[in-house]
Structure formats: C-alpha cells, structure tokens
Symmetry: C2
Subunit: 320 residues, 2 copies
C-alpha cells in the first residue's frame, strides 16, 4: 500500500527551478486600499518581512497613479491590459496611463511568457462582495501555484476558499506576467477604505506564502492532493432597461451569500419599482461569488456563477 | 397633575404653517446609490408613493452628473456649497459643476432662508461606516424637524439613532435650502453599491416621514418630549506622516463600533508598520461615529466624537 502511494506520487511529481524572483503587488486597483497600504507601509518599510533564507521578495504598487488618487484606474483597468497582443503592440506612447504602465511592468517583471519573467507574483485585492478570504488561481495545471494556494488554506487561521478561473481562457491579469501566480481576494471591504482586519489577514497570508516558497526552494516536497475549488462557469448581469440602467438590485436573500449554493426558484434580484423578486430559473444549482461587487456594475456582472470541482494536483519539488 | 402637564405643554407649543412643498433628494453624493436609485426608480416612477391627502412630495436627484458617473462629486462636494456667501456670489458661470448646480437648486427649492423656500427636504445618504439607521438634524431648535426625527424613530421597525450637528455652526448642506430638513444616513454600504436592505429601509422611512407631514398638516398635535441624541463634539484625524499619508488605520476593536462609548486607554488606531495600538487618551468618554467613512480620508476625519445629550423639544401643531 505504501509502495503504491509512493508510485502514484512519483508519477504525479512535477519539478521546478528554485523561485528566486518573487513579487508582491498591491494597488493593481488603486482603490483597494488594503493591498496599497500593505505594500507601501507594511512591506516596503519592513524589508525584513520580505526576506527569507533563499530569496528576498520585492513589493510593488502596480498602479501608483490610481493608488495615489484612491481610484480603481486612471484610464482603463490595469488588470485587463496584460494580453500578449496588447503588450507586444507598438503603443509605447499610448495615451492610456495603464497601457503605458502595463508595458513598463512587462519590462520590469516580464517579458510575459519568457524565461526572464519573475518566478512568482502574489497580487493583493479586496472586494465589496462578502468573499471572505479567497485565493484565486488561473489554472489547475499550474501545480506550483495550486500547491501554494493549498498551503495557505491549510495554515491560515481563517477559512479560505480557492477560486479557479475558467481554464483555457486567455489571461490578461497583471500577475500573469510571472511564471506562477495567485491573487489574494478578501472582502467585504468598501473601495477607498482600509480595514485593519483585512490588512492583518493579508499580511499573515503573504508571510505564509513566502514561507512556502522558502520551504520549496530548500527542497521540501509537497505531496499530491485533490484540490476542491470553486470554478467560474458564467456571469449573471442585472436586469436593465433599454438605456442599460439597473431595474433591480441584488435580492436581500442573495446579498452577502457568496459561495452558498443557489437553487431553482431562489430569489436573486429585487425590482426597484414593484419590489418583486426575480428568481434563479435554471435547474442546475450554482454557487454565486463576487455578489454586488462595485466595480462590476459597469462590466455587466451582478455575480459570477461557480461550480465546486475537484482536481488532482501533482506533488512538487525543486529541481536541482 | 394632568393640569400641570397640559400647562407645560401649552407653554412649549410651537406652531407652523402647513407643509405644502416637500422634497425628497437623493444623489447629493453621486456614489451613495441607495438614495440615487430610490429617487430615480422607487419614487419618480411611483408618484402614488409620494402622494398624500394634503400634499404631493417631489423627488429630485441633487447631483445628476455625479450620480450618472457613480462618483461622489464632479468638481467639489455639493453638500458643502450651500452657504449664503457662496449662493449669493456672482459665480453663475463658475467652472465648478457643483457650484452651478447649487445655484440652480437654490433657484428651484430656495432661495435659502426665504419665505419662498420649500417647507421640508429629506436628503438620502449612505455611509461606509457602521452607522445603522441614523437621522441627522441640524438644530435642536428646529422643533418640527426634531419631531419628525422622533416620529421616525418611534415608528421604525429598525433601531434608529438621532444625530444632532453641532449647534451654532453655519449650515452648508444641500437640505439647508428648506425651512425644515433632515438627513437619512444609513450604513454600512460601500459607495458605488446598492444594497436592497438599505434601499428598503430608506423607502420605508421616507413613507413614514410623508405620513408624519400629512398628519401634521391635518392638525394632529405632536406632544413635547425629551430628545435623546448624539451631538457632534469634535473630529479625530488619522495619524499621518509629513506628506499627509496615513501611518495607521482604524483599530479592529474600534472598526464597526459606531455609537459605542470609547474610554481612556481604548485602542483607536493600529500602526501599519509596528502594528502597535494607538489609544484614546482623553479622560472624558466619547461615542465615535462615521468610523472609517471612505470620503472622510481626504477631509482629515477618521471619526467624529459625539456626546449623548438630551434636549426638550416643544410640542408642535399646524397654525391655521
């Protein structure tokens, strides 16, 4: 039995070079203040916190101009600027601050997809939705990032959930500059507000993540496991009138119920005029997340529907 | 005994002409969406909700441009533009959108301080602070507004608190255009987010307020009472560095504790770097409110300190 397990683990073993260039980014959205302040005050001013035996992480404010103004972005959402197409286009003198900044970050931390790119980015976000402590990974095939997310979930004193973006879709996020990456997404917090509880949770998780990378670099093997996560299926928009204005808002029973399963007939919206409920019609239950996130109104998203999925994540160890 | 009470009430009787011009305003701050949507969707599209036997109220979006953009203001805070000085200045072509709009509203609903001004304005606000349902009145000498606040507190199914602005300070708020006025201030809600629970509470209270005014107009006498309220004493700013940047945030123990008494030695801030607590030093306890309101960072306010006070409010009835 022991032999069989070992054999299975060996079959699922992935190895990676040591992670020497590790970056913690805040202020990718300038009004998500926990990340902004954690980078500017809690990390840059405490270099010892970023130091481990095998590496010293770097802390960067991704969108300094938006962070200074405490707004999400200046011209366009920085976290949607990192497609290969956009980064390779000849728009060095683009009129968009964020497109210029994306190219600058690509130069600093990338180039995206190359061997020169940094090894790991941890990007810090907050949300107005009741997401609790959520770790977002882009792909179940990035074993190292999934192992990092699993480690954080295990060591954290707070309940953590892992969110998996829809596989196979192009990644346009800032953190996709790195070889491996994850997002800490914590809520609820209003944009433009720094809450100490979220700041403290974020700082604790960043510390644990750096420990994980240090242990990995030192040769610790992280065994294979089955990763239970919420995987994004599709978005749901608000009911809107012909001018695109909302005609209903999130129903009180759905508000703050992120990750809880939604069944056919459950109310999802409340109409402004009649106060009638609009219900979830599909037979197939889903788990809504990012319910009533402020910045999603303009993106046509009231919430995302997710499904609970399980993926086999291979064991990992450092290659020598 | 009965005679004595009656005599006392007669001595404290105030009478006012019927209130025929009543206005409900939302979107004075364009990112406080409960008020914006309640006016635009819940009231303007439901004229029957605004109709009473003795009057029909008008619903107005105070700052349409900021509301359209879902931001607090375009050029300057509209709710600080209503001083006599500013309204009477010859800046009809001011480059500030809000100053132009203030003059427009003064023309529409004022002139402030004149007999032609509307009788009552109820202004709808939300806050990122955990203020619950709060009714703000400007002066304990405006018996009619205090009676309205008391009525709402009594009939509401939610616990309500009355907040009294510091007496004797000049009023610059939008609602000060009217002869009598109050603010509904409900939280916590992130700016840029519409929460159905707050929308519903706001709508219920507006309905009750219109009932109160209708009953008053019909001759109902509202007896004298002792008004327990929180009165603003002074503001507290965040600890800041020489560039004005925060060096600490609201302490987790103070966060969300609006209206609860703060005693000497209680922690109020948490330093970003050391995570040390900074404590309340004064001997005199205060009750903090508007703790960690997003829009107050730039105004140098971490929270307001209030004291519980009691004022005798005279009975009121309509003059014929």
């Amino acid at each position: 039995m022991g032999d069989k397990l070992t054999k299975l683990q060996e079959e699922h073993m992935a190895s990676f070079a040591p992670l020497s260039r590790v970056v913690v980014t805040g202020g990718t959205h300038g009004d998500e203040l926990a990340g902004v302040y954690l980078v500017q005050k809690g990390l840059v001013k405490q270099p010892e916190f970023l130091h481990r035996e095998t590496f010293t992480a770097q802390a960067i404010v991704a969108n300094p101009e938006a962070s200074r103004k405490s707004c999400r972005f200046v011209d366009t959402d920085l976290n949607r600027c990192f497609t290969f197409e956009s980064l390779s286009s000849s728009t060095a003198n683009s009129s968009s601050y964020e497109i210029r900044r994306a190219k600058e970050l690509n130069h600093l931390l990338g180039p995206k997809g190359s061997n020169e790119a940094v090894d790991f980015i941890c990007d810090l976000h907050t949300t107005t939705a009741n997401m609790g402590t959520c770790i977002i990974v882009d792909s179940e095939k990035d074993y190292l990032s999934c192992q990092a997310a699993h480690y954080l979930k295990e060591v954290s004193t707070h309940p953590c959930r892992i969110l998996l973006m829809k596989s196979g879709t192009p990644t346009f996020s800032m953190m996709s500059l790195a070889k491996h990456y994850l997002t800490l997404e914590i809520g609820p917090a209003p944009h433009g507000v720094i809450r100490a509880d979220i700041y403290n949770t974020m700082k604790m998780l960043v510390g644990h993540l750096l420990d994980f990378i240090d242990q990995f670099n030192k040769g610790q093997e992280f065994p294979a496991f089955n990763m239970d996560c919420f995987q994004i299926e599709r978005k749901f928009d608000y009911p809107r009138d012909e001018e695109g204005q909302l005609t209903a808002c999130i129903h009180p029973k759905l508000q703050d119920s992120d990750f809880k399963p939604l069944f056919q007939g459950d109310p999802i919206f409340q109409s402004f005029v009649s106060e009638d409920s609009i219900c979830y019609e599909a037979q197939d239950p889903i788990c809504p997340i990012f319910i009533n996130e402020a910045s999603y109104y303009s993106k046509g998203i009231a919430f995302w529907g997710t499904k609970i999925q399980t993926f086999e994540i291979a064991s990992i160890k450092v290659s020598i």
